[in-house]
Symmetry: C2
Subunit: 358 residues, 2 copies
Amino acid sequence: MGVFEAPPNLSGHEQVVFCQDKHSGLKAIIAVYSTALGPALGGTRFYPYESEADAVRDALDLSKGMAYKNALAGLDLGGGKAVIWGDPETDKSEALLRAYGRFVESLRGRYYTACDVGTYVPDMDVIAKETRYVTGRSTENGGAGDSSILTAYGVFCGMRAAAEHRWGAASLAGRTVGVAGVGKVGRYLVKHLLDDGATVVATDVSEQARGWLATNYPQVQFVDDTDALITSDIDVYAPCALGGALNDDTVPILRASIVVGAANNQLAHPGVEKMLAERGILYAPDYLVNSGGVIQVSDEIHGFDFERAKRRASQIFEITGRILRTAESEGVPPAVAADRMAERRMAECGRLRSIYLP
Amino acid sequence: MGVFEAPPNLSGHEQVVFCQDKHSGLKAIIAVYSTALGPALGGTRFYPYESEADAVRDALDLSKGMAYKNALAGLDLGGGKAVIWGDPETDKSEALLRAYGRFVESLRGRYYTACDVGTYVPDMDVIAKETRYVTGRSTENGGAGDSSILTAYGVFCGMRAAAEHRWGAASLAGRTVGVAGVGKVGRYLVKHLLDDGATVVATDVSEQARGWLATNYPQVQFVDDTDALITSDIDVYAPCALGGALNDDTVPILRASIVVGAANNQLAHPGVEKMLAERGILYAPDYLVNSGGVIQVSDEIHGFDFERAKRRASQIFEITGRILRTAESEGVPPAVAADRMAERRMAECGRLRSIYLP
């Protein structure tokens, strides 16, 4: 599993940087897919990969996804992502995080980092001791804080756009929405849905998460698991937990007519978007509707302003609507229309730097 | 063949940067072994590797070698090296070289490049259009020009040190030196040797190289091939062509009692240095005596001054003498003494940055 010799869907990256600090044990890979639209931004995943090849594969895959997400969100940012190869429980230390920050700094702003699986706001504060090119810091340190807030808000905006496209009204009032996963993002989404007049059915493997929701939103009905959820009488399905929620097993039995959720990589494999289209289910691509988080943290680059970031996240409504209409008129699944729009923006705006400015 | 999972002798690198530009076809790997002593400096090899793994292996190997070479030469430089994966005859273009220069620039001086196999002074001039961090440019562009000059001079200095160590006088006068390879470096070395009063026996596969030498130094005697050279009645053997000159076949039949040459990687495999020691042959490690080239080009960083660079290259005499004496007193081959000295300098001077300077 090489970088240049990676499979076609994982190749084409501009720069992939292996970083090592023997003393702290740091082994990190920073992958920059594209800087056509600006500095590459994406989080740092801290994960005990089985092998270096697995770590490389994840970095290549996730950084490409960020390029498309940032392009679609209208951000002036390229796409990148980093992985730290190790167990966050046992390997994370101030020295390791700061060594990582020093390597981020060495790229001098071609890559901005942020939180991802295994890294948290306090970690970004530590990394920020060594580099300016970090987002997702705590509010005390000028950061955007918990990015779940605008992630959930953006998903809600995308869901309203899908509702308008399908039913003619940009509202979930009177609809039943099934939310799989009511952790950090899902619980904020539930509030938006209830405020909008929707009925919410939920499931979560975590007793703590269920308990929190039952206490705060007793009107939410719980079902045992995701299978029970997707076979319930729901209008909209919102996958907000692990990836691969839409697969060969779930799509055939799904009762919802719209799928819009916060989870990353909802399609288990290429082709699932066609299965959804054939069943008449309207699917708004995950990386299109869940970009509220990156919109929130990237606002830190300009000095964080929550209201400005929220206005920008609200544009997910317009962008989703446009993608769904384009997909319909071109007779392609929305995921294909979204990919094309992202690629067009990277190509058309990226080439503008060829116009020399004295 | 990974970066983190590389074999022990090829591992421990600080940073390895894969760079790609789809339009120009650039695929480059910049390997930084260490920046403990300063920015990493090393040339760019342009070569049609069979596979990405081969390219990675070469980058890891060569960059580590540069770290040791630069450390031993007393330069305030770390070690790095880059490879461009492609055929320099067909793939080299202005766009590709400039794309490469842009990636060198993106590291903001953590890596300085220079010429190596497949890249030449005019290529460095092109790369310099995109980055400040390039040496080996033409003299018209502020460069050091042909680095063969001080490479040969440094080898001559190292040979004088070996002569003094073995025979008591720092001169080759009255000795017979066998020079294998009289190309760019070898022909300059021949002149130093003749000026010093040595007898020179030479061989070269290139008719052109032989012709040039026969015209300019008719007193040099030629033999058919390297086997004929090393079994001649020579006092010193100077391998100045391909790597691997000292191997299981050549060492047992070698008649010289000193080996000092310009070629890189003269030892075909670990252990050959012991075979030489057991036969009583004094071997001055290649990366110790052939650092005149990197001394010459690195002087460009300070605004090139040939006389300053030559003075610095002349210190190869003292350093080689010190290594040979240390090796003798510690009962180890000179290659081991040289490695230890390089590692000690990197560790001891590298840690000085921990002393904070306001």
